[in-house]
């Protein structure tokens, strides 16, 4: 019970911090919107072309936005010593780390869902695929946060961790990109997407269970 209390305390603390900092919520969101605006400018505004590649664009941008927001997951805790205190707590680090990841997703991942319909309209996506797009974002972005947490935990102690982080994390994002992007595309042509959604659900379950362990181990290694 007291573990649950500690879990909630961490979530509450991180949400409170996010509210006091604010820009942390806005930055990935703005990035997400900006990248998507760049595509029509770069490849020309032909509606058919944009419509065809819209699922891919949205998902690749979500991937990049998720990756950019990762740095804030442990950075400030590492810098001010709060991370040491979390690691020294008698409660299992993996559970406390999971709380941090959940809070981080609520702050950086969930807002992507809110702007996604707007961007879908920008790119002329068919309306029937909008629901599937939101569903894949809802299932997929937590996986990105969970896998990404491993990468940041490994690199948080480094002065220049940014580039190496993308090298560590992006290859692991490939399955999410494939299934989520494909589900949205299929939904656009009115095909069933049960298989892809089920696979995304199982990826989410798998990463919820597995990812906090290496993250906790990597954090212990990073504070050394």
């Amino acid at each position: 019970m007291s573990l649950f209390y500690a879990f909630l305390a961490i979530i509450k603390r991180d949400l409170l911090l996010a509210v006091r900092r604010r820009t942390e919520i806005a930055n990935p969101l703005l990035f997400f919107i900006l990248v998507i605006t760049l595509f029509p400018l770069g490849i020309g505004a032909q509606p058919h072309l944009l419509q065809a590649i819209a699922p891919g664009i949205i998902w690749v941008s979500a991937l990049l936005a998720a990756m950019l927001s990762l740095d804030s997951l442990f950075r400030s805790d590492f810098d001010d010593g709060s991370l040491e205190q979390i690691l020294l707590s008698p409660y299992p680090t993996s559970i406390l780390v999971l709380a941090k990841i959940i809070a981080h997703w609520l702050v950086t991942g969930l807002p992507l869902l809110i702007v996604a319909p707007l961007l879908a309209v920008f790119l002329g996506m068919p309306t029937q695929s909008l629901g599937v797009l939101l569903l894949t974002l809802l299932l997929g972005t937590p996986v990105l946060s969970l896998i990404g947490a491993i990468g940041v935990a490994l690199t948080v102690g480094l002065r220049r961790g940014g580039m190496i982080l993308s090298l560590l994390v992006l290859p692991l994002y490939v399955p999410v990109l494939i299934f989520a992007g494909n589900a949205v595309e299929m939904a656009g042509s009115g095909l069933p997407v049960d298989a892809q959604i089920n696979i995304l659900i199982s990826m989410l379950c798998l990463s919820l269970v597995l990812a906090p362990w290496p993250t906790a181990a990597a954090l212990k290694m990073s504070v050394n």
Partner: protein, 253 residues
């Protein structure tokens, strides 16, 4: 552990000590090189000279004697890396950590060779250097995974910490490799329809198979030789303050 005979446990225990490992590999190395040269010689002779040309692809198929063993090695070495990394994490055996990180550049090279030869082979087969074929794509992602491991190791100054980081990353990678592999395969069948797979003939002729297996074995020995050399250098570097390194250096001068 009770399933493993005592002598084997003792052997591994001794091997985990750097001076013993160093002395032991000194003795084994010439034999490994002889076996490697023989295997490669027979393999290439069988593959490039004895084996008949393919009725469709002519002689260009012969690149499989490099391509296929390299692709096998790229996965095999990642497994070795993850397993030895796990051993290093759990039992704190320094040598296992060193095996893990020393394997990474060799594995990355094999992955690169597999990609490069695959692309060379693709030119006559598909008429283009690169096709987003499932095998090549997963191989490319595997290369990124290797580069991540090497980059992470290089970025962390304290090498003991870096070895731990590499072990964690390799384990995460090894869980993901099958998922990545199957998702890429699935993606490929959806987007491209049936493509030409390279090994689609179910029965490969015995005169082609034997050289292929010989080459695969010779690549394993090459890996072993390269790995041991890298481990020896890494050991000397890490243990440069230890007495046995000093006596070793004095002996050689």
């Amino acid at each position: 552990m009770f399933l493993i005979p005592n002598a084997v446990v003792r052997f591994f225990h001794r091997m985990a000590s750097p001076p013993h490992f160093y002395a032991f590999t000194d003795k084994v190395m010439p034999w490994l090189i002889i076996i490697f040269v023989l295997l490669t010689g027979f393999g290439l002779y069988g593959g490039l000279y004895l084996a008949p040309a393919d009725y469709q692809q002519g002689d260009s198929y012969r690149i499989i004697y490099i391509h296929v063993p390299s692709a096998w090695m790229s996965l095999f070495i990642y497994m070795v890396m993850a397993i030895s990394g796990a051993i290093g994490l759990v039992w704190r055996i320094k040598l296992a950590e060193i095996v893990a990180i020393s394997s990474a550049p060799i594995g990355a090279s094999f992955t690169f060779i597999a990609l490069f030869t695959g692309s060379l082979w693709g030119k006559p087969m598909w008429g283009t250097w690169w096709v987003w074929d499932a095998r090549l794509t997963s191989e490319l992602i595997l290369l990124f995974l290797y580069l991540g491991v090497i980059g992470l190791y290089g970025a962390i100054d304290d090498k003991r910490v870096a070895s731990k980081a590499v072990a964690i990353l390799a384990l995460v990678g090894v869980v993901n490799i099958p998922i990545i592999h199957y998702s890429v395969e699935w993606w490929n069948t959806l987007h491209q329809g049936p493509t030409v797979t390279k090994m689609d003939k179910p029965s490969i002729h015995i005169s082609m198979l034997i050289p292929l297996l010989l080459m695969a074995l010779s690549f394993k020995f090459y890996y072993l030789i390269a790995l041991i050399q890298r481990i020896r250098i890494e050991l000397l570097q890490r243990e440069r303050n230890a007495q046995w390194v000093k006596t070793k250096v004095l002996e050689q001068n």
